[in-house]
Amino acid sequence: MTSYSRRTLLKTGAALAGASALGFPAIVRAQATRIKIGHLVPLTGFLGAIGSYAQLGVKLAAEEINQSGGILGKQIDLISEDSVNPATASTKAQRMIEQDGAVVLLGEISSASSLTIMQVAERNKKVFFSTGARSDALRGKNCNRYSFHCDIPNTVMVNAVGTALNQKGMVKGKKFFTLTADYIFGHDLLKAAKTFFDANGATLAGDELIATDVTDFSPYLLKVRQAKPDVVCCNLAGNQVTNLVKQYAEFGFPYPLVGFNLNTGDAWAAGEGNLSGTWPTVWYHTLDNPASKAFVAAFTQKYGKPPENHAWIEYVTLKLLAQAINEIKSTESDALIAHFEKQTEFDIMKARKGYFRSWDHQLVQEAYPFTVKPKAEMKDKWDMLALGDAVPVAAEPLEKIYPTKTQNPCEMKA
């Protein structure tokens, strides 16, 4: 028998196990045609679950655009890949521009990966629509001329949930314990949360920074119990939200759990009776307006389930991008930037239209706090959320919930 030392075997095994931990590649490509658009979204790792919805949304938009004649008479060639992690995201973005000839990039959910793609976009002078990343810093100190931001930022999520919590008397004089994702997004969200607590008379009893690969929260939950807070607040993202929600229900603590970040996909995965509390969302498939209903119907017919909010943001972004290119008859970056900086309003399937704010390039729009429906009121397993009133209220300008120019340190280089 061939003799291989155990040491060699262990080393190889460890290397392979390590490689498998990085995630297996999941690559999907559309047919090759004319106008190339690069799309990156995490399909593996802790954001992979919601990323898969994002990919479905962008593919549906590309198909519909192609069926109705494409962009400038040409068909879209959507190159959609797994962004994996910040380093890979940046490499792939560079390759999409350089080798594949993508004229514009869109996608991403991870704020860390989005940041690296933003740098690639700026270096190559190509426009990038960061669809699902929520860190304030991306629109703030890290902003650049070539990057646009479509999702609601952390500050808006905190304001949306905070407003709802304030109405319930759950903020003033209360002790909060936060569990925060240990990367740019979480740090940023914690900062926004602290600002909110300070402004509204709440205190922070404790915070735990949690690495993004944690799946077992029991040691942290024991620490929560030691602190005996009034409210526990989740500042996590992706799969971790689902894991925490499940394990929080498992331990059955008396302290209410709320959160400043949630994607519908995480809520759907939580399981019956596990999710409670007040959370923010950017869009939900039960919103009652014609554009939203048409999208939900088309998506459900194609995929057999309703769209998640990341499917929505990707769909809307590619659609408004196609519309813009058709209007200005150009895919040149400067022309696109000039067009979006005019603050043109778009129908984004909400009661009020949205627009990209000219000086920091973020899509200004409504947000919603929600609570969880009692089971008896759910029409189906997707119908989980009871949306609160949109913030800001109709009489107030949309920008009220966004950071002002003095609060948001975005300075774009020409």
Binding site: L9, A211, P219, G265
Partner: protein, 291 residues
């Protein structure tokens, strides 16, 4: 007070270690007997979770945690008979590659069958909440898992040490040539060991589906931890794996208590230290065929 909290983390870590143990013990057995590092072990864990969620819909949680491991163990027969068996005497790199490939195939198969988004699962209402034992807080559900792990552990130990089946398996680990010379075919034993191993992984999957996210890559996430536990415990040693699993759980809990950021790294540091002091692992036996 500080001490009580720390003790609470230690006990919680022991419970968590029990969960690692279910996966690592099978991995260790398959490696010890067959000489194959089964990188597809995590896939059986994931399958166990998915199948149990499906069964729960029709027959309830109680049936699911029993039937799912049995179903996956049946799959283990095919896995051993048609794939693993070809690689016992081959270059180890080949079995690593084939099981690694199989893990990918399994993950993508789950994506095709159940979809990429996670599926939902919940603890039965009766098992929710926590109980106080003196000053300690336990999740009721985890206490149940702990009881199941102890039961499985005792059963496996009895199987390996008190039955003729176990004697052959243990002899097969040390001297397969002698076993063959005595006229005993090791192959049926290996089939049984693989069934047992992947069945335990599926059992872990079934019990953890309600408290962790059920998604296609869950198998790839767990295999690393299981592998670390096996390496720390040492090959061929039942108690080595048990101690290592508990140690990893406890060290993680204590680390999170004092230095949360280092929590996930703690088990690798532990592995590093153990391998420095005892290259064979804590209780690793000297196995001739691997030297």
């Amino acid at each position: 007070m500080q001490f009580a909290f720390l003790l609470e983390q230690v006990v919680n870590g022991l419970v968590l270690g029990g969960y690692y143990l279910l996966i690592a013990l099978g991995l260790s057995l398959i490696f010890s007997v067959g000489g194959v590092v089964n990188l597809a072990h995590g896939a059986f864990f994931a399958l166990g979770a998915y199948v149990s969620v499906e069964i729960t819909k029709y027959l309830g949680f109680g049936s699911a945690v029993v039937l799912s491991p049995i179903a996956v163990a049946m799959l283990g027969i095919l896995f051993e008979r048609y794939i693993l068996r070809r690689f016992y005497t081959a270059d180890p790199i080949l079995s690593l590659l084939v099981t690694f490939g199989l893990a990918m195939v399994a993950e993508q198969a789950i994506r095709i069958i159940w979809g990429a988004p996670p599926i939902s699962a919940a603890i039965p209402p009766a098992l929710r909440g926590s109980v106080f034992l003196g000053d300690f807080l336990f999740s009721r559900y985890r206490l149940l898992i702990l009881a199941v792990v102890i039961g499985v552990l005792v059963a496996v130990w009895l199987l390996l040490h008190k039955t003729s089946f176990g004697r052959v398996v243990r002899a097969g680990i040390q001297r397969p040539d002698m076993v063959a010379a005595l006229g005993i075919r090791l192959q049926p034993y290996m089939t049984a060991i693989v069934m047992l191993g992947v069945g335990m992984a599926a059992l872990a999957g079934a019990f953890f589906a309600p408290i962790t996210i059920v998604q296609p890559a869950m198998g790839a996430d767990i295999i690393t931890v299981a592998f670390v536990v096996v390496v720390i415990g040492g090959l061929g040693s039942f108690w080595g794996v048990v101690i290592a699993a508990l140690l990893v759980g406890v060290v993680r809990g204590i680390t999170i208590h004092f230095e949360p950021a280092a929590g996930e790294a703690s088990m690798y540091v532990l592995m590093f230290v153990v391998l420095l002091v005892r290259p064979r692992g804590l209780l690793g036996e000297r196995i001739e065929k691997f030297e």
